[in-house]
Amino acid sequence: MLNVRSFFIFLLLSFVALQAGVVYAEDATQARVHKIKAGFLFNFAKFATWPPEVTPSNSLLMCMWGESEFKKYFQAFSKRVIKKKKVEVRYVATTKEVNGCHVLFVEHTLGESKIRRIYQELREHPTLLVTDIVSGGVINIIPGGKLLRFEIYPDRASRARIKLSSQLLKLAQIVDGE
């Protein structure tokens, strides 16, 4: 049973390796959260269709409201093309500036009550309002179990006359009602 010995060594090595892994510091994962949020946003824009009065332009305007490191990642959209439309990026700080925005991302740093006011003000507006707090906008990126998830309010989307593809809906947590 000589081979049992090598097997034992193998197990021991695995064990040591796992223990060694613990030593690795717990990294701040903020940058990664930002990247994933940005990835989500970009996909939301791909899977949404806007009413005719906002679509004619040759560009797709993505707007952001909030103050944080996230701007750096948001900026990456500006080099991209979605559905043959060039993506443009705008940073806003008032609801007036939101005019023309296809997507508006409102960041949690604004605070919950302010985000709710923004939604109330813009809910008839054909802008896809995305937030990162629960029930903040039409689509909300939220921590869900193991990873980041997103919830969709289909009724809010229809109020804004925005159509979201089923590919998007099937991955989302659907919240009925407004």
Partner: protein, 680 residues
Amino acid sequence: MKSRWIYLALISFLYILVPFHVGSDPLLAEEGEDFLDLDLETLMQMEVSIASRNPQTVQSTPAAVFVITNEDLRRSGAESIPDALRLVPGFTVAQIDTNRFAITARGSNGEFATKLLVLVDGRSVYTPLFAGVYWDVQDLMLEDVARIEIIRGPGAAVWGANAVNGVINIITKDAEDTQGFLASAGGGSEELTTAAVRYGGTVGENGHYRVYSKLHYKDASELSSGIDGQDESEMFKGGFRMDLNPEDGETFTLQGDIYAGEGERQATIPSLTSPTFSSRTTTDSELAGGNLIARWSKELSETSNYTVQFFYDRTMRDEIFADQSIDVYDLDFDHTFAPAENHSFTWGLGYRAVSDDLKRTESSFFEDESRTLHLFSSFAQDEIEIVDQTLSLIVGAKLEHNDYTGVEVQPTARLVYTPNTSHTLWGSFSRAVRTPSRADADIRLPVVAFPTDQGLPGLASIYGSDNNESEKLLAYEVGYRAQVTESFLVDVSTFYFDYHDQRSVLPGMPVPNFTPPVPHIDVISGVASEDTLYSYGGEILFDWRATDSIRLQASYSYINYNPTVATSLADAGIDYVFEGGVPENQATFRGQFDLTEKIELDAAVRYVDTLSDLTIPVDSYVELDLRLGWHITDDLELSIIGRNLLDDKHPEYSGLGLGVPSSEIERSVYGKITYRLPNS
């Protein structure tokens, strides 16, 4: 069964002590520098559908899973699926000669290795002739392969018979992801020429298609004596794929390939007239085939969907050991739904008909030249979330009826514990069977001719038998996966495999045979299913994305495996190993380095232990592959790949029962240029 207890004791020791409270990172998705190019599924974490048919993340899959992504393929510089599989921990890939490979997971290797199920887009490429895979015709356009999902260990409860030691699921890209023009061309010392072209466009409002073709010429290997192995080959392949979305939530896929090729090989066949009792010939293998897949899937609700798939596959091979044409027709249905909260239930039905025509060749024949066999199958699986997001149980079973052994039941139970998002502990018990192949049942194969005391020459042959049982495996597995930090992953899997009714041959009695032209003494060994054996071992993988531009991966695997040797042939002085050539220890190391934004360097080192159970043992070896890639522009990539750089040539396998001389694998250098023109 002392070893089983040692195994269990050690496993308990290991897993009880493993800490569960270490750092937790909610974001384990596939890292990509360009986060905007990731699709939603990937963002929500990379999906794996293989272990339980339901989409699932690698991190929490209760099986030993490994995924080769398209990017891994590109950076490996692999020109073929077997080369790509060298990256997989616990896999044994031994190149026998230019066209033939011995590939397996966790033991039982050989050109005719029987325990690995391989699927390409849901189409089984496992040949019913000898229950293995013809790797030489799995020459896919690797640029269009989305990923290769690999399970080590049984997947029979879902995938059915023959998913015994492992399952490989090769998934090509959706046509939507292969839009535009791609051309690649390469050449080198072993991969003489490769050329591939693909074009993807749109069909109507919501449809996409692609068409492609690929040419591949390979140089001959070299025998250990330095003589040319005369096994050069050429392969042409072409195909298409069309994906339509007639409605939201509904997809229809139609795809197909055809191929034709030629490969030479040398063989030594027993001869009653030759003074050496054998004759060596070089013969052509003529290979051709094709397939067509139609798949329709529909989402009924968030938690419910069904898929109907039909495929047809034709294989034609005119070779020295078999002149075959085989048609496979397969219809498959599966449906997933949530019958109650915390349950996800999947069930399915399948039917397969295999119709073959096996002509007599110079060296063998089949008792029935033509047979049509039917396989009926059904499976059900329930995934139960016992404790919300922490503890899940998967129970399932596949029930099959085949014409050789009747009903086969293949159950599994898997428990997965995810105390937090970064740690997964899983354990499973499964039963899997390998059903008899056409060769097991009907082959008539002379193996060796020899002088006898009686003055007449002797001829030892193997005869298949229709009365064989399926080979059975009871598998016990435990694994642990830890995303220790955002960039560092450790994955350990261990197994104990208990096999029964393994293929063996029963010693035959010498019987004089005075049939002309040459009177001789027959020693006929019948294929039987009498052996039992066990194996145990494990694999460990470390994956460290050190920085945005450096990724390091190391793996080590160990197996204790006892192969089957045909005793009657051993009596005749021949160690005929059905399935052997399993290295006890293997290790790999891979490094991916982005030297600048445009220049990539990839290195892969692999160690393979001695294959001591073969007739001619194969020495252990260490080999190094290097790749240098240069993105001249966004659309143009140039790469230079060096393979097996540490030796002029080295053998990876030997001692084949079928008298084919052993080739060695030479050092090679290869250059490749790839041009992509995306649709604007």
